[in-house]
Amino acid sequence: MGLKMQKIKKIAPIIISLIIALVLPIFVKNNYYVTLLDQALVNIIAVIGLNFITGLTGQVNLGMAGIFAAGSYTSALLTTKLGVNCWLGLIASIIVGIIIGYVLGYPSLRIKGIYLTLTTIGFGEIMRLLLTNMVNITGGTQGVLGIPSLSLFGFELNTPRRMYFFLVAVVCLMAWIAIRIVKGRWGREFKAVLNDDTALASVGIDISKVKLNSFILCSVFTCVAGSFYAHLMGYIDPSDYTFDMSTRFLMMLMLGGIGSVPGSIIGGSIITILPEILRFLKEYYWLVFSVIILIIILVLPYGLVSIKDLPFVRKLFGLNKNSLGESNE
Amino acid sequence: MLEVKNINVFYDQVQAIHDVSFEVKSDEIVSVIGTNGAGKSTLMQTIVSLVETKSGSIIFNGEDITNLPSHDIVKRGIIYVPEGRRIFYDLTVAENLEMGAYALKTDKKRLREDLEMVHEMFPQLNDRMKQLGGTLSGGEQQMLAIARGLMGHPKLLMLDEPSLGLAPVIVEEVFDIILKIKKETNTPIVLVEQNANMAMAISDNTYVLEVGYVSFSGKSSELMYNPEVKEAYLGS
């Protein structure tokens, strides 16, 4: 009986969020807002990826825009310039993701902490500058136009609404994979890197492999997200893929709660959608948004998923320490 | 002069000090002994407020100093020479010594006199004044740490495991220095030590800490013959 209750308690939030996700488009009439929801879903995929590096192993990656751009441009260029099938384009993006994982992960074996963060920033900047300036290939500031929409067994995902349901399915799949990884052996190894490099080595785990894995996972997820983004928007240009974008992913990760997959989902949704909600504030909206996020970091550094750990919230709901089930460190 | 009354100290949820009381009278050497992890350093750090006192009080010269900011406590004259020396690696030996006098409103002349005194007491530092602290040997670093403490004109000097990791000859030297400080400046000293034999030999009173509790305390000359203390700490 108790066990069953616990299981229900665990599954209920998932079911409820799924139902909300599925009925949401019924209430959102304007296609512009559906596109926004699509973007939130795409961002969630990338944040789940970022969680592997920054959330679990604690290495701050601020080059996300570069990785995301690589995914977008691989798909966009292959499909528009070479007429490659979009799914092959996606596979190419994944391969690019693996390569980037090695490219960024390799330095992480030697470079640590703030130096690593700077390296990732450098990577993002190099990527953006290359995309802007290699006009022959990337179209420069003009960007890439006319990226075809995805099609699934002949069914065109050519409206934001169709894309939405597809992306919900993808997010579910990616989140499921991520949770399996987080809870599995790799997840434990990632967290061990966060806590102490040396202890890991002494139990015979290959730290370089663990770090590489985390980077590869991150950049594969991010490239997949980038690829979907290109197909969703139909048009991309380098001005999207700035340092600002990288920091936005970090915001999503931390607002939700570092290390937690549900946190990534919450953070990805809020950071994508909140600015739109605040639009009524006109020229103050971005200011108010930034202030809100800063206050949350100061008050709730472990993100919204840690709200249940705040003393007054605990009292309010009569929680005790052990009823939290799967806490996220 | 220092009275610690029934203090409790926690690291997060874990209690490290249980209801410990502790007293140092002016002009005495008090030794604190105990095995690794007994809470000796925690007790010292609590006195200088590097660690928070959860309950209980710490009185210094009649004034309640519990949980005052560390720098205020230092200004009142409690100087703690921490475990592991913690000299400033990026500063020269001379600068390290000078920083020892940071809390005092000293003029140049007084500073020079104090440096003279240090030179006399620690001749091995004399040729090394321009060297960076991080380049000193372990023994020299320990001497520098103690010397730096003296530069602050302590009203109470607390030394945390000054003999740790030093060769036996150097340990002797360190203990000689401690006795000399006592003799020349008449400063009360708290001496935290694993080397219980030597610590008890030079101290007036001794406290024995065990997993956060005071298990024995009293005159060193008497505790030395306590069979349990002998068995556990004096190794004979």
Binding site: Y115, T117, L118, L129, P301 | K75, R86, M99
Partner: protein, 292 residues
């Protein structure tokens, strides 16, 4: 040859700016172990306070306008240290400070936009002359950049080597707990250090205003390249910052002799990554372990 010398001139001028940037953020890093990811916006804010308020609004003379801007920025720095750095400093992971300062940067930019307007402007007549010697053009602003940088480095050296405050700052940078045991008020010391850093940011903002105009994006590239300079030189040493700044400034300008100008900005980052891979702690960096 002429173009070589011309490029060397701009290389040195920009190198000085990168050096100042490297120093400005490494003093905070040294003191608190935190990296200020909003330093570019602090520089911008300095430029706006000087150009937008002191000059345009109050019509002040350059010298008092500069001094007053430095004071304003110093106060700003102290407030930020109290409100953001000191609380976040105690959290176990530097992630929090990274995001906290990133958000602070966004807030500053939005405030600049609201207070001073979105369009860039130039400060008429401020360091806008050029001097020509033997075919080589020396913009007035470059000359001042070098002069002010040298003066600043001397002041910094005196402050850190000779004064009690500066030595205390070095103690805090070296070991915070030990510093507290010397009777140093660590929190206050960090506040002073951050204020000092904000003042350097203001100096940079004023010096680059004639080059980039006063604009919310004016510090984007120099702040990132200053990071690179600090890392290339090795975090935290003045010598390292000078070497790193000049290396980045000169390399990226010399590159113009062999490659297309559009990739000039890439050079600094490629240099950064290559340097890091060769020597993960920077050119002059020590393998120091920080103690908490």
């Amino acid at each position: 040859m002429e173009s070589f010398l011309q490029l060397l001139v701009s290389g040195i001028a920009f190198g000085c700016i990168y050096t100042l940037v490297a120093i400005e953020y490494s003093v905070i890093y040294q003191a608190s172990g935190l990296v200020n990811f909003s330093h570019g916006q602090w520089i911008t804010l300095g430029g706006f306070v000087f150009g937008g308020t002191m000059i345009r609004q109050f019509n002040m003379h350059y010298i008092p306008a500069m001094l007053l801007s430095l004071v304003v920025m110093g106060i700003f720095g102290a407030l930020v240290a109290k409100g953001i750095f000191n609380p976040l400093r105690h959290l176990p992971n530097n992630l929090f400070v990274v995001l906290g300062t990133v958000m602070l940067g966004k807030i500053i930019i939005e405030l600049c936009r609201i207070i001073w307007g979105a369009s860039a402007f130039r400060i008429e007549g401020f360091l806008s002359d050029t001097v020509k010697i033997g075919g080589i053009v020396f913009p007035e602003v470059y000359i001042w950049i070098v002069i002010i940088s040298v003066i600043f480095l001397v002041v910094q050296a005196i402050l850190f080597q000779k004064t009690k405050l500066g030595k205390a700052m070095r103690c805090v940078a070296s070991d915070q707990k030990a510093a507290a045991l010397m009777g140093i008020n660590v929190n206050r010391n960090i506040i002073i250090t951050v204020a000092y850093s904000a003042i350097i940011c203001a100096i940079i903002g004023i010096l680059v205003a004639p080059i980039f105009n006063v604009d919310i994006n004016m510090a984007n590239s120099i702040s990132l390249k200053g990071f690179a300079a600090g890392v290339v030189g090795g975090f935290g040493t003045i010598g390292g910052s000078i070497v790193g700044g000049l290396v980045i400034g000169i390399i990226e300008n010399m590159y113009l002799m062999i490659g297309p100008a559009i990739y000039k900005d890439v050079v600094a980052f490629v240099a950064l990554i290559i340097f890091l891979l060769m020597k993960p702690t920077g050119l002059l960096g020590k393998n120091q372990q920080k103690r908490s």
